[in-house]
């Protein structure tokens, strides 16, 4: 059952924050920063965002799983970067794999044996 306006109005992001997840804030900032420095044209980003939203809207109306607003944003942003030759899907995926394979150092020391033998 597609969400009603009331459902959406109830879905406040935590603490009335603008971003539900930290990554949403980061991708927002990346896009705005590139637009402000003139490396991206906002209208070009907007056109791609609209295209993603059209697809998401259709899925939502059909009662199917659908991307969130910022997932649409991310998809549009990646497409625009690829179109501008600033990066491409393969490069991003490759870097994502490296990051996933190298998580930040654990905060607890992992013991691999006695620290002292007397």
């Amino acid at each position: 059952m597609p969400a009603s306006l009331q459902d959406w109005m109830r879905e406040l992001t935590p603490d009335q924050a603008n971003f539900a997840e930290p990554w949403e804030a980061r991708v927002f900032a990346l896009t705005v920063s590139l637009a402000e420095s003139g490396r991206l044209v906002w209208n070009e980003f907007r056109d791609l965002l609209i295209a993603e939203i059209v697809i998401a809207d259709a899925a939502e109306r059909a009662g199917n799983p659908h991307p969130t607003y910022y997932e649409c944003w991310l998809a549009a942003f990646e497409k625009l970067l690829a179109a501008k030759g600033m990066t491409d899907e393969a490069e991003v995926s490759q870097r994502a794999e490296i990051i996933a394979a190298n998580p930040p150092a654990r905060t607890r020391a992992v013991s691999s044996g006695p620290v002292k033998i007397v």
């Binding site: 306006l5 009335q16 990554w23 990051i99 998580p103 905060t107």
Partner: protein, 214 residues
């Protein structure tokens, strides 16, 4: 799908991982700087928000000449109060509510919104039901927001675009003659500046500008 797990030892996945990779690459290529990104996020989380718009509204309520400038050249009048235009350099237009005309703003295609005076849009503004029903059934939408207007009031719905952003100048509620400009700004809600609410005095509980009604 998104995880609320704040265990920093947990591996990233999905969009979070993708964005990390994007940021790393774009920083390495020298096209973005982490400090600039941090400052942008900080701005939109803590500095740029509906309080800005509320100050514009309050000024227009107390200063007739300012109101005239605001309705003629919104960006210039807004800049007078120290709020520069948004990052996309879009045009701004302020829509005056009157006893006969109630204005309501939407972006039917995505989420275009007057960032410089209202900050980032609420989740419901970006939602499919709002984007479609604001145009097809505005009075129905207003009713869901708890606002019922008489038949003699014309409801005008304005569709925002990348080039044109709108802010509603709500009517000053009666019984506020004794309030100073700052107090007036404190009763103006975000939703009243989008057009899904009116300004009430005394304000509804929990509907101050600092805490949006929804």
């Amino acid at each position: 799908m998104s995880t609320k797990d704040h265990d920093h030892n947990a591996p990233e996945s999905g969009p979070a991982l993708r964005v990390k990779a994007l940021e790393a690459l774009l920083v390495e290529k020298g096209v973005v700087q982490p400090a600039v990104l941090d400052a942008l996020i900080d701005s939109y989380e803590h500095k740029i928000g509906p309080r800005n718009g509320a100050r514009v509204v309050a000024r227009a309520w107390v200063d007739a000449a300012y109101k005239k400038r605001l309705l003629t050249d919104a960006a210039a009048a807004i800049a007078e109060l120290g709020f520069p235009p948004g990052p996309q350099g879009e045009y701004m237009m302020v829509l005056e509510n009157t006893p006969r005309v109630h204005n309501m703003v939407v972006c039917t295609l995505c989420s275009c919104y007057p960032w410089s005076v209202l900050g980032l849009p609420p989740v419901w503004y970006k939602s499919t039901p709002y984007r479609s029903r604001a145009v097809s059934d505005p009075r129905g939408v207003l009713k869901e927001f708890g606002l019922e207007l008489g038949a003699e009031v014309e409801v005008r719905v304005w569709d925002s675009s990348a080039e044109m952003r709108y802010m509603v100048l709500p009517m000053r509620p009666p019984g506020t003659d004794h309030l100073g400009e700052q107090e007036l700004a404190s009763i103006v809600t975000r939703d009243a500046m989008i057009g899904t609410a009116i300004v009430k005095y005394p304000p509804d509980k929990g509907s101050s500008v600092g805490a949006p009604a929804r």
